[in-house]
Point group: C2
Chain length 522, copies 2
C-alpha cells in the first residue's frame, strides 16, 4: 500500500552552474495581511461535507471568554497560505495556570470535523495541521513559526483554570505567494460555473506558487516534476511567471542520479537536494515541460542548457522496452500515471513515452540536433507501431495493458495524447471507454486533466466542458475554494494514504481548468 | 472538592512606594549550563515508583535514529529548573514530512510512566509538562521558550515518515536560580541520611528561589505567604538571601484588598498583581514572617515600613472570634492548615492566631508601639484561655476542634507552637496524638514540618529526628532529588487535585529539614 521509494545508496551529481541559475530565479514572496471574516459553526450533515454557518460577527471575537473545552472557529473567507499571529489575553481572576490550547487549521470545513486521533494512514501524521500550545503568561502575541494552508482556524481552550478564561483578541494571517490575483484577468463568460472554475483554478495555482511550484501548500509542500508540468502550463496563460518555471527546470537538472536520471521531486530546505524517488513518467516529462517553457517564454538559452538533460531521460526510458518495443513495467513505485489502486500502467506508460519522444524530438529540431531528432522520430514510430500491434485489442477497439490485458482509462487517454491514433479513432476510443466505465477508473485530478485534454484533442469540446463541470464543479459544489489533490465523485472519502485526514485540498495538479478553458475555449 | 477562591469584585489598593522597594530587590538569576548525564529506561515496578536503569552512555545520543513511536529518555542527573534547547537532525532519505514529536518533562521518574490523557483532576491540565512540536525543516535548533522543572526528559518521535528518522544531536538546559549551592556549607554529620536530608532540602529551596520564592517551579510557580514563611526560615540559615525575602514582604504589603488584608498569593507576571485568594492563617503569618526577617537581617527600616500591614492582619483576624473568644470558621477555602480532607480547622486556627499575635506583639515591642503591644498581649491571653477552657478536652487530654469536637494533629501542633500549653503538657499531648493516629492525619510536608517543630519545641529531639528520617527520608527512598509538595507514606498516590499527575515534586514548603537540622541539631 505505501508508495514510497528509498535508495540510500543513490549517488547524486550536482551541476553547480545550473543550481546557481536556479537560485538567481528565486522569487521574492508577496505578502498580504488577511483577517478572519467571521466566527462560524461547522455543522455535520448527512454526507461527509459539513455546512458552515455564520455564528457571529468577527467584531465580537474578544467577547468570547474561553473556558476549558470551549472552541471558536474562524473563517478567513478564502484559502490562505501563510503565517498566523494571535493576540491572546485572559479575563477573570489572575491567570493562575498556563493557557493550554489547540489550534486546528483546515483547508476545507470537512477537516474541522475530523479527529487527528483517528488518523491511521501510512504517511506522516505530522502533516495534520494541528498545534498544542502552552502559554505561561497572558496577554501574549503568539507568532506561529510554521506556515499553514487553511481557510478555517479552530481555537480550543483545552484547559484554563477555574479562575480565568482565555480571550482571542485578534488573529492575523500574512498570506504569501510568488504571484497575486491582480496579475490575471478572469475569464469572461456568462456561465457562472466557468467563471468559478477559472477563479478556483487561479487560487489553487497562486497558493502553490511559492519559492518553487509546490504540489500542495498543506502537504507535501515540494516540487514534483509531474505537477510542475501542469502548473507551468496554467501559469503561462495566467500569471506568466516564467522565472519560477525556469528555476524549477534548472533545479531538476541541477542535481540528478549519477546515471543522469532526474528525480521525481526535490527539496529546497534546509538546502537543495533531490529526492531518491524516481518515476519514469515524471522524468520523461522533463523534456515536455522544457519544450512548453521554451514555447511560452522564447528562452533559447535555457532550452539549449537543459536539452541534454531532456535527451538523457528519453535514453534512460528507452532501455525499458522489450524486443517487441513494448514497455516493461518496473517494480514498486516506479511510475505514477494515477493513484487508481491496481492500475496496470504498461500501456499508459507506452503512451507517455511516445508523447515525450515527440516533444523531445521537437526540442532537438529547434536546436538543430538532427541526429537526436532522427533517433527520436524512429523511437516514436517503433513504439507507436508496437502499441497498435500488441496493445490495441481489435475486438474491444481499446488499448489493453499488462499481462492481464487490463482495460482502463489511462491507457486510452495517453495513447490519444501521444497521437498513437488519429483524432477520429481517438474520439471513438474515448467514447467507448467512457461508456464502459471500466473498474479501473480515474482518481486524481491529474489523471482527469489528461482525460479532458484527450477529449479536447479529439474535438469533443462539449463533452470536455460538461466533464469539467461535473468533476471540478463537483469540488466547487462541496465548497472548494481551491481544487483538491484527490476527488472521486463516487467515493468522497477516498485517499491514497489510508485516511483522508492528510489529503491536500489545494493541490497544483488540479489547477488546470483555467488552462483548458483559456486554451480550448477562448 | 476544588479549593478555589474567586472574588471578581475585589478592590485592590496599591502602595507604589512598597512596590518600588520590592522591585529594587529583584534578583538577577544565576545561570548554569547542564547536560544530560545518561540515557535511561524508566521501568515500572510493583509499587508506584518505577526504577531508573541506565540504558546507554549519553555519548551515544546521536546514534539513536528515532522512527515513528520511538522514545528516548534522558537523565539530567539532578532536579533542574531551566530552559531547554535541543539540536535535532534527520537521517535516511531527505526529510519528506514535518518532524512531529512529544517532549515530556518529569521531576521524578514516576511522572514518566503517567499518561496525560488519564488526567482528570480539577486544576488545569496545562500544568502537565508536555509539549507537542512540529518542525518542518531539520536540522534545527529548538529553543523552548518555557521554563521546565525536571530531571528526566523523554523525546518521543510521534511520527517521522517511512523515509527518514529523527536524531537528537544535543540537549542543553540553562538552569536558573537566584542562588547557588556553592553559597552553602553542607551539614557535617556521620549520618548519611542527615546529610542527604540537608542536601535535598537545599536543592528544593534553591530551585524554588527564582524572581520570588516560588511554591514550586513545576506548579504553581508563584509566591504564597505560607510557603514564603518556611522558605525564608530555611534561607536565613543557608543561602542568606535577605533581599529576596524583603522583596516578597514588600510585594505582599504593596497590594492588598481595600480592607488591608494581604492576599494568600501573588503574581509578578505579566505585571505584579495579588490574587483574589485569602487564607486567614496565611495573612496572619505575614507578621510572623516579618519578625523572622527582622531577626535574621536586622533590617529595622523594613520592619518599621511593614509593621502596619502586620498589625492590620491581626486586627482583621481578631474580628473572626465569637463572644467566647473562639475562632469562627469561614466558608469555602478560607484557611489552609493542611490538605487533609475533612479537617476541622477551628482549633488549629485558634492556635495560629495565638502564635501570630505573639510574633506581632514582639514587633510592636521592638518598634516601641506599646499600645499595640498591650492590645496583642491581651488578645493572646484571652484566646489562650478560651482555647484551654473550651477546646482542651479534659478527658482526652487533647484539643478538640469544631462542633463535632474533631481530634486531629493540626489542633495539637498549633496549640503547642502557640505556647498555649507548657512544654511538658505539650510533650504529653504530642505523645497522645501520635499514639492515637487520628483519622485526620497530616498530608502536606508543610503540616509535617509544624509537627516536627512542635516535637522539637517540647524537647523531643530524638523523636523529631526519627520522624524526619521516616517522612522526608521516605521521599528520598523513593528517589527524591527535591522534596515534594505532598507525601503521604500511607497513600503514595494522594493528591489534593484529583490526580497526582499535576503534583509538584520540588515544593518549597518541604525544604525545612535543613532549617530544623541546623537550628535544633547544630
Amino acid at each position: 500500500m505505501p508508495e514510497v521509494s528509498i535508495d540510500l545508496n543513490m549517488v547524486r551529481v550536482t551541476n553547480d552552474d545550473f543550481v546557481k541559475k536556479a537560485e538567481a530565479c528565486a522569487p521574492k514572496l508577496q505578502e498580504t495581511v488577511v483577517k478572519p471574516v467571521s466566527i462560524v459553526d461547522v455543522v455535520k450533515t448527512e454526507n461527509i461535507y459539513p455546512d458552515v454557518v455564520v455564528k457571529d460577527s468577527i467584531e465580537n471575537l474578544s467577547s468570547y471568554h474561553l473556558a476549558k473545552g470551549d472552541k471558536l472557529c474562524l473563517d478567513f473567507g478564502d484559502h490562505q497560505v501563510g503565517y498566523v499571529t494571535l493576540k491572546l489575553a485572559s479575563v477573570g481572576s489572575p491567570q493562575d495556570s498556563p493557557a493550554f490550547f489547540r489550534l486546528k487549521f483546515g483547508e476545507i470545513a470537512k477537516e474541522m470535523t475530523e479527529d487527528s486521533a483517528d488518523y491511521d494512514g501510512w504517511i506522516s501524521r505530522g502533516w495534520i495541521q494541528e498545534e498544542f500550545i502552552h502559554i505561561d503568561v497572558l496577554p501574549a502575541e503568539l507568532k506561529l513559526p510554521r506556515r499553514y494552508a487553511f481557510r478555517y482556524l479552530e481555537i480550543e481552550a483545552i484547559d484554563t483554570s477555574l479562575k480565568w478564561q482565555m480571550v482571542v483578541e485578534d488573529v492575523t494571517c500574512v498570506s504569501v505567494s510568488s504571484v497575486n490575483m491582480d496579475q490575471v484577468k478572469p475569464i469572461k463568460s456568462d456561465d457562472e460555473m466557468i467563471r468559478t472554475l477559472d477563479k478556483v483554478s487561479l487560487r489553487t495555482l497562486m497558493n502553490c506558487m511559492q519559492s518553487v511550484f509546490e504540489d500542495g501548500p498543506k502537504r507535501d509542500r515540494r516540487l514534483w516534476l509531474g505537477d510542475l508540468r501542469l502548473q507551468a502550463l496554467a501559469n503561462y496563460d495566467t500569471f506568466k511567471n516564467y522565472d519560477l518555471v525556469k528555476r524549477c527546470l534548472y533545479l531538476f537538472a541541477g542535481q540528478t542520479r549519477d546515471d543522469g536520471m532526474v528525480s521525481a521531486c526535490l527539496f529546497t530546505e534546509p538546502k537543495f537536494i533531490v529526492d531518491d524517488t524516481f518515476l519514469l513518467d515524471y522524468s520523461m516529462f522533463y523534456g515536455a515541460a522544457l519544450l512548453d517553457y521554451y514555447k511560452a517564454s522564447g528562452d533559447m538559452e535555457t532550452l539549449r542548457d537543459l536539452s541534454k538533460c531532456a535527451y538523457r531521460q528519453m535514453e534512460l526510458a528507452g532501455k525499458q522496452f522489450d524486443e517487441k518495443d513494448l514497455l516493461i513495467c518496473g517494480e514498486g513505485f516506479w511510475a505514477f500515471i494515477d493513484w487508481t489502486d491496481g492500475l496496470d500502467k504498461q500501456a499508459a506508460m507506452q503512451g507517455v513515452y511516445i508523447y515525450c519522444a515527440k516533444k523531445v524530438r521537437e526540442i532537438a529540431e529547434i536546436l538543430g540536433d538532427t541526429e537526436k531528432a532522427a533517433e527520436l522520430a524512429k523511437e516514436e514510430k517503433a513504439k507507436t507501431e508496437a502499441a497498435k500491434k500488441y496493445l490495441l485489442d481489435s475486438e474491444a477497439g481499446l488499448f489493453v495493458s499488462g499481462p492481464d490485458r487490463q482495460i482502463n482509462y489511462a491507457s486510452q487517454v495517453w495513447m490519444v495524447l501521444a497521437g498513437a491514433v488519429d483524432k477520429e479513432d481517438g474520439a471513438q476510443i474515448l467514447e467507448k471507454i467512457t461508456d464502459m466505465k471500466p473498474e479501473k477508473g480515474m482518481v486524481s485530478p491529474y489523471m482527469n486533466h489528461h482525460y479532458v485534454e484527450a477529449l479536447l484533442l479529439c474535438g469533443k469540446k462539449e463533452q470536455a466542458l460538461d466533464y469539467m463541470k461535473y468533476y471540478w464543479g463537483g469540488m466547487i459544489s462541496h465548497g472548494a475554494d481551491t481544487f483538491w489533490e484527490l476527488y472521486n465523485p463516487e467515493n468522497p472519502a477516498e485517499s491514497p494514504y489510508g485516511s483522508s485526514i492528510v489529503n491536500s485540498y489545494c493541490h497544483a495538479w488540479s489547477c488546470t481548468p483555467t488552462y483548458l478553458l483559456r486554451k480550448y475555449f477562448a
